[in-house]
Structure formats: structure tokens, C-alpha cells
């Protein structure tokens, strides 16, 4: 190694320095933008990845890693970081009403102005002398004052109060609306007249002697309402007064394991959650087992048929159709009153099962649709697996007088299972979280009666959690959602772990 990197020509090295610098410029620019938006975590993740990449590409000692480095960088940014961030959010109160950082919330509140009860309001006109400004203030009773930005205010006796805008005053010239408007918000930051009762521009037409509404007391960690002295203590992401009234907006803060506790100790959740979990396992297991059986059967049936290529092409049809489309089509076909299947069943049996109102029938329909959606996949993998079974063993079994069923049961199936087991496990995990199907087919309905938290008979964990944390877009509780998804990961993770161990045991046999 050492000898090799001695030989790298300096020209090449200069070129890589240039490329890396260009990359660094991009990364620094990105980090700056992220910092401006207050995304310190993401910014540091980008920084870490950038430093790593720069080191790898500039230090010859690490040159062996250069092909892997980009992959690692992308993994860190798009997989590891989101996971860690999700974990972090799980320990915060992030959600509607708590989206700002504390600093942002304080800034918002301190910006709020307040107009004391008896304070006068004025109509104003802008005046300017080079870089200093002044306001001509007309109060409701017609009195006219002239306030400048260097602290003076004087009462004017206008010769012609009817005139829309008087001419030059004290060397200041009047500004046209088109000159005032573009700098309106800069003017609003300027205090006119004599302190402490300075007058500020309130809108394009109005000015008033307003005072800030809130002041943040850093020592007490509290917001003080300057109008009546109420103290709003910072508690768990909100400024709250003694009566429990909170100021808007609140801010994001760490809440420890509160989200986890809320979820795990909630009495109202326990019943629905257990039922969702049981159905979740049944749904995932039944879907995979049945779809695999159908796929395998189809594969065996059509193995030796003439024209199987065409048949195969037709069998695969469900596969490339987007899940959304197929589920919606199934949904309309199963409609008891109007759907093709519903009407057919009604004609044959007198009435159609309520595929969307009856819990059992909804579950049966869901599993059926899922079989239809996923059997082509199992058909493809099992017909592949069947090809790899050695014919010697099958021939030997035949000589020994085994029946075709015995051949299948004791020779083909174990081998096929061994090959496809990892895929079956992956499918199980996928179906365990098959939000799309559940959500599109019937949104987890029909609803359960007698629960305090709305939940449907066909809700699986993930769709239930979706309802719980994002019941509506107006009440997003990201902290709780993240905490639950961490717990969900533990469930799915351990299920997968035991399955993998089971597979290994199977293989060892």
C-alpha cells in the first residue's frame, strides 16, 4: 500500500483537491442553509459525512475506502440519520403547537405589540430627509403632529388641513405611496417621536403608540405579560400562567420518556391495541401462508403445460398494477349493492355479505385481496426454486415407490421452503406493516363499539398508530408518533429475529 500511494502523481492529487473543495463548498452552503433554518442536528450530520468524505478522498491512507465511502455517506444521511432523528423526536413534544424552537417562540412573542387602552391612534404620512424619516400624524380629532426618528415631536398648525399631503416640513419632503410601501416594514421598526411614548407605524395608514406585549425573563425562565404582569412560566414546551392558560405558540422541548409512558400506560389503549395486534399477526401470517400456497400450487400446475409462457404472462398480471388501483377496483367489485361480486353473490345466495360493515367479512375480503395481490410474487419465486431441486432425489423416491404427494411433501416442499424462507420472512414483515392495503380498502373499519379511542376491527398496528398520532392533519403529534414507531420497530424486529432463528434451525436440519 505504502509504495503505491507514493506513486500517485501530484497532478492527479491537485485535481482531487479541486473536486473535493468544490464538494466542500456545496456542503458548507447546504450546512449554512440548514443552520439558518435551525436544523442543527441535520447540519451536524451533513458536517460529519462531509468531513468523512473529505478525509477519505484526501488522505491516501484511507484511499482503499474511497469506493465505499459514498455509499456509507448516503446510508448515514438517508437511513441512519432519519432513524436517530426519529428516536430523538420520540423523546420530544414535537407536534402541532410545539413546532418552534424555544428561541423562535420567544422571538415571536416578544415581537407582539400591544396598544394600551387609552393610547391614541393616528393616520400617518411619510416624510424623508436623506436617510432620516418622519411621520405627519393626524389624530381622530384632527390635531396634527410631526414626529421624527431622532426623538422630536411637535404640534403643527396646518394652514390647509384639507390638503391631502402638506408640502415640505422642516426640510423633510413628503414621500409618495409608491415610495413608502416598499420600505413599510423597515419603517415599522423605527420608533418615532419622543421616548418613552414612541409612535410606530401599524399599517399602511395607521400609526399608534404601542408597547411590546411580552418580555422574556431569562432568570425566571418565564414570559411576562407587560399589560397586567401575568407571569407565564415555561413548562413542558409552553408558557403557562397560574391558571393553566398557555401562550401561542409553544415550543419544542425534550420530555424524556413521557411519550412512551403515555402510550404504554394508557388504559384506553390497552384493549384496542391487543385486538389490533392479534388481528395484525393473523392478517400477516394468513396473507403470506395462503398467497404462498396459491403461488406454489399455480407454479406446480403450470410447470409442464404447453403454452405456459402465455399462461405465466397472464398470471403475473396483478403484479405490475399499482396496489392503489387494484385495491380500489376490488373495493368497488365487492360493494354489496352495486359491485359485480356483490350483485353476483346477492343473485346466487339471496344477499351479499357486508364486505365493509361486517368485521369477519371485511377481514376475509382483505385477506383475499391480499392473496390476489401477492400470489404472482410467490408464483415467480417458487417456480424458480422448483427448478433448483435436484431431480436425482425425486427419481430415487419414485424408484422407492413414493407417491407424488409424498414426493412433494418430503422432498420438494422442504427444499423450496429452505430457499424461499428469507423471502417469506420479508413478506411477513412487509404485511405486518401493510398500511396501504388496510388504509385504502376500508380505512381499518368497521369501527369497534365501546372503545374510547376510535379503532376499527381491521386496523393493524401501523394504521391504528397512524390514526392515533395523525388522526387528522390538524393535530399532528410527531413526538407520540415517533415514540410508537420505535415501539413498533421493537415488535417487528423481534418477530423477524425469531423467524430468522427458526430459518437457521430449519437450514441446519
Amino acid at each position: 500500500m505504502l509504495t503505491r500511494h507514493e506513486q500517485v502523481p501530484t497532478g492527479l492529487y491537485v485535481r482531487s483537491v479541486i473536486v473535493v473543495s468544490a464538494f466542500g463548498v456545496g456542503a458548507l452552503w447546504l450546512m449554512r442553509r440548514l443552520l439558518d433554518d435551525g436544523l442543527y442536528l441535520l447540519s451536524s450530520a451533513v458536517a460529519a459525512v462531509t468531513i468523512f468524505l473529505v478525509l477519505v478522498y484526501l488522505r491516501r491512507r484511507y484511499s482503499a475506502m474511497r469506493w465505499m465511502a459514498i455509499g456509507i455517506g448516503i446510508t448515514v444521511l438517508f437511513a441512519v440519520y432519519p432513524i436517530l432523528y426519529n428516536l430523538y423526536i420520540g423523546f420530544t413534544n414535537m407536534g402541532s403547537g410545539h413546532l418552534f424552537t424555544k428561541e423562535q417562540a420567544i422571538e415571536r412573542l416578544e415581537d407582539e405589540q400591544y396598544l394600551p387602552q387609552d393610547a391614541p391612534t393616528f393616520r400617518w404620512l411619510g416624510y424623508r430627509k436623506d436617510d432620516s424619516f418622519a411621520l405627519l400624524l393626524v389624530s381622530d380629532d384632527g390635531a396634527v403632529q410631526f414626529a421624527t426618528d431622532d426623538g422630536s415631536i411637535e404640534t403643527l398648525e396646518l394652514t390647509d388641513p384639507e390638503a391631502e399631503q402638506p408640502g415640505d416640513i422642516n426640510g423633510y419632503r413628503p414621500m409618495a405611496t409608491s415610495e413608502v410601501a416598499p420600505m413599510l416594514d423597515e419603517l415599522a421598526d423605527v420608533a418615532f417621536g419622543e421616548p418613552p411614548t414612541t409612535i410606530r407605524v401599524q399599517s399602511l395608514r395607521e400609526a399608534a403608540a404601542t408597547v411590546p406585549r411580552y418580555r422574556f425573563d431569562r432568570d425566571a425562565d418565564a414570559m411576562v405579560d407587560l399589560t397586567d404582569g401575568t407571569i407565564y412560566q415555561a413548562v413542558e414546551g409552553s408558557f403557562v400562567d397560574a391558571d393553566g392558560n398557555a401562550l401561542i405558540p409553544g415550543f419544542m422541548t425534550g420530555v424524556g420518556v413521557d411519550n412512551f409512558k403515555r402510550f404504554l400506560t394508557n388504559q384506553n389503549l390497552r384493549g384496542p391495541l391487543t385486538r389490533a395486534l392479534v388481528w395484525n399477526f393473523v392478517f400477516a401470517f394468513a396473507s403470506v401462508a395462503l398467497a404462498f400456497s396459491v403461488g406454489l400450487t399455480v407454479a406446480m400446475l403450470f410447470e409442464d403445460l404447453p403454452g405456459r409462457r402465455w399462461i405465466r404472462a397472464l398470471l403475473i398480471v396483478p403484479y405490475p398494477i399499482p396496489v392503489l388501483v387494484s385495491v380500489l377496483i376490488w373495493r368497488s367489485m365487492l360493494n354489496p349493492d352495486l359491485g359485480t361480486i356483490g350483485q353476483f353473490l346477492a343473485r346466487v345466495f339471496g344477499s351479499s355479505p357486508q364486505f365493509f360493515l361486517d368485521p369477519t367479512w371485511t377481514r376475509i375480503a382483505l385477506i383475499m385481496v391480499n392473496i390476489w395481490l401477492s400470489y404472482p410474487y410467490f408464483y415467480v419465486i417458487s417456480s424458480g426454486a422448483m427448478r433448483s431441486i435436484s431431480t436425482d432425489m425425486l427419481d430415487a423416491a419414485e424408484v422407492d415407490g413414493a407417491s407424488p404427494w409424498q414426493e412433494f411433501r418430503f422432498i420438494s416442499l422442504p427444499q423450496i421452503l429452505m430457499i424461499t424462507m428469507p423471502l417469506l420472512i420479508a413478506s411477513f414483515s412487509f404485511n405486518f406493516n401493510n398500511f396501504n392495503l388496510i388504509f385504502i380498502f376500508n380505512n381499518g373499519n368497521p369501527p369497534m363499539a365501546g372503545t374510547v379511542i376510535p379503532i376499527g376491527h381491521t386496523d393493524i398496528l401501523i394504521s391504528f398508530i397512524y390514526k392515533l398520532a395523525f388522526v387528522s392533519s390538524s393535530t399532528s403529534d410527531y413526538g407520540l408518533g415517533a415514540a410508537i414507531s420505535v415501539l413498533l420497530f421493537v415488535v417487528v424486529g423481534s418477530v423477524t429475529y425469531f423467524q430468522i432463528r427458526a430459518t437457521k434451525a430449519l437450514e441446519a436440519r
Binding site: 402541532s96 436623506d130 424619516f133 409608491s178 420600505m183 416594514d185 423605527v190 399599517s203 401561542i248 361486517d358
Partner: protein, 435 residues
Amino acid sequence: MRRKDRWRAGALLVALTLLIAACGESSTDETSAPATETTTTTEAATTTTTEAATTTAAPAGENLTLWVYDDGRIPILTELGEEFAEEYGVGVTVEAVDLAELRNQMLLGASGSGPDLAIIPHDNLGALVENGAVEAVDLGDKAGEYLPNSIDGFMYNGELYGVPLAVENIGFFYNTDLVDTPPATWDEVAEVGRALVDSGDVDVVIGLPDLTYNSYPVYTSFGGYIFGQDASGSFTADDIGMTNEGMVAGLTWIESLVDEGLVPENVDWDASHVLFETGKEAFIMTGPWAINRFQDAGVPYAVSAFPAAEEGGEPGYPFLGVQGLIVSASSDQLLLAEAFALEKIATEESMKAIWEAEPRPSAWASVFALADDADTQGFNAAGIDAVPMPSIPAMGFVWDAWVAAGTLVMTGELGPEASLTQAVEQILAQIEESG
């Protein structure tokens, strides 16, 4: 080796210096701005004005940004923006942005990336206000020029947070081949429908796909409501009407029709429309968005006000949707944005121009009254007493619980009163849970 290393370090150093220099330029003026904003002394004021002076030199960068979530109004708003620019020297850039994206950008208030102004449907207002993303506006005397219920749509915690532009509500449709005059009461709906079903003319009297939004007028005609309003017109979660007699009576009426086989216990929104289009359904409650498909299908229809609970009673009213212009609290040109909303948009002239460019019922009363086609007049008659859909966060808990209540009655698991009681329990539990 060592020499080479030093050379390398030198190259890096140069690159980094260049970089920092490049970044430094933008960082200085960004950091100094907040400093002047917070100080109030005259000295600071002078600094600010110097900045103001520099900005006048380049007014091109001072454009206001207005986000709209549907593009129908972009041309007219752009035109109004140009007029505003002529008068006030500041242009308005109108951009179409997906509603979810619009909401997120405004909620996060990310520096400089959000709009100064936006048009939103009013039911999004609650979340924006609760997160401090919207600035209150003061319409002053002009408020009287608007439909009072359109103003209610943008009232939140006693303050007005937007300038209403247009209103939208569902109406009561009937098939004019089958029904001559719109029924005045729900009993009459059942009576007329029963005769049509018995004679085999229709399969379904009226499709009620969700028993919530599209069926709300049934509940309201009996006196039901979801959340009450306080004196200022703001909704409050302290007053939940979901278990009152009216809601129960409405759901009981629906249940009786289902039991009689006049209304299917489970019908899709789309299926219900198809039934109406094919003449298999006598009545349907739906919005202006269904007009095109009804016309394409060639079904003879008329829109009218909703029936009442009893002869001479108050007709049912639907939810009102209000679209309005809001000012982002993250805008660094707050006053200017407000000036555009209040001085330019909230005028009869502009409101009329907007309505003419895209004829949705205007929130400006005198323009609202200009509607002259039968459909719009029908919708307006149906929606004249409409109450805005509450935009308080608690409304988010209502939908699922309400749908569940209706479904449980349809499956026969619970009676109307029990199912609505469960719904209220669910809503209250979630309100408490969310703090």
C-alpha cells in the same frame, strides 16, 4: 512526504479561506438585521433607516409572494398584483403550491422560504393559528360588506385571521324527471321516495355515503350541531352538540329509512353519484364539484335549499367552506402584505374581478348576490345560513368518531343515541389526551 503534506494543507487552507469569504458576505447582513429589529433606541433607528435607504435602491427584490393551492385564480391575482405594483411600487408574485406543502412551509415558518400571503380553505386555519403562523388582520368597517358566516370562518379565538374570498357549500339535488317540486320536509323526502321505490322508478331514495359532512343538513334541520360558537363567532370545544336531541333525531331518521330499505346501509360517495346520474336515485346532497358530472351524464336535476324537520321549520343548513387570504406571521414584510390584503383585495372592485375571473360564490355580499344562474342560486339558497366548518383542532378528533358512530348504527350494533354518546366520549378523551 512531509513537504507534500504541507503543500496539501496549504491548498486546503486557500480553498477554505475562499469559502469562508464567500459565506461571510451573506452572513454579516443577516446577523445584523435582527439586532436592529429588537432595539428601540434612536441610535438603532438610524441604522435601520440606512438599511431602508439601501433597499429602496433595489425595490425589485421586494416582491411579495402569494401562494395559492389551486391555479384557477392565478391570472386575476397576478393582474391585481400588477395594479398594486403600479400604485405601491411593490410587485406580487403568485405561485401555485400544493396545499399540504403550503401548510407545512407556513407551520414551520422556515426563514425566508415561506410565502408572505397565502390563500387557504378556512378549515386549515386552526392549526396555523395554534402554531403562531398567521397574523391577525383588521378589516375594520369593511367586515360589514362580507357575508357574516364567511367572516366567522376566519374568526379564531375572537380574532379575524384572514380576508374571505369565496364560499362553498353543498346543496339539495333532486331529479326533475321524477320529482316536481323540492320536498319541504324530510318526511316528505321519505314519502316521495317511498312512492318512487314502490313503483320501481328508483332503487334508492337518497344516498348517504358517510353520514357526516354530506348528511350534515339532516342533523342541523333537527337542531343538531358539532361545536357551538361564542359571541365573536369563534368555535369552542366547550360546547359539543353531538349528543343533543337534534343529532339523535337526524340519525334516527336516517336509520328508519335504512331499516325500510329506502337507503342503502353502505354506499360509496362515488356510487351514490353514479346512482343519481343513472336516474336510480331521487335525491342527493352534494356540492358544486358534482355539477359537471351530472351535466355530462345528462341527468335532469335542480339544486335547492334543504328540507326542514317539520312543516314550517327551519331548513337544514350545510357546512360552509370559506376560502380566504391570510398573512404569514413569518413574513418579513408583514405590513406590506397586510396592505395588499386589506387595501387591494378587500375592495368591491377586486372582489368582483375575482368572481368574474372564476365564478365561485363571492364572500363579498353584494357580489354574492350577483349570481344569476339557477345552479348557483340553488347553492346560495342552500348555504345562506350555513355555518363554517369548525377549524379548531378538536374538529380533527370529530371525523373518525362521527363516521364510527354512523357505521355502528348502520351495522345495528348501537342505537343512534348510544353511538353518538360513544363518539363524544372518544372526542373528549382525545381532547384531554392532547392537552
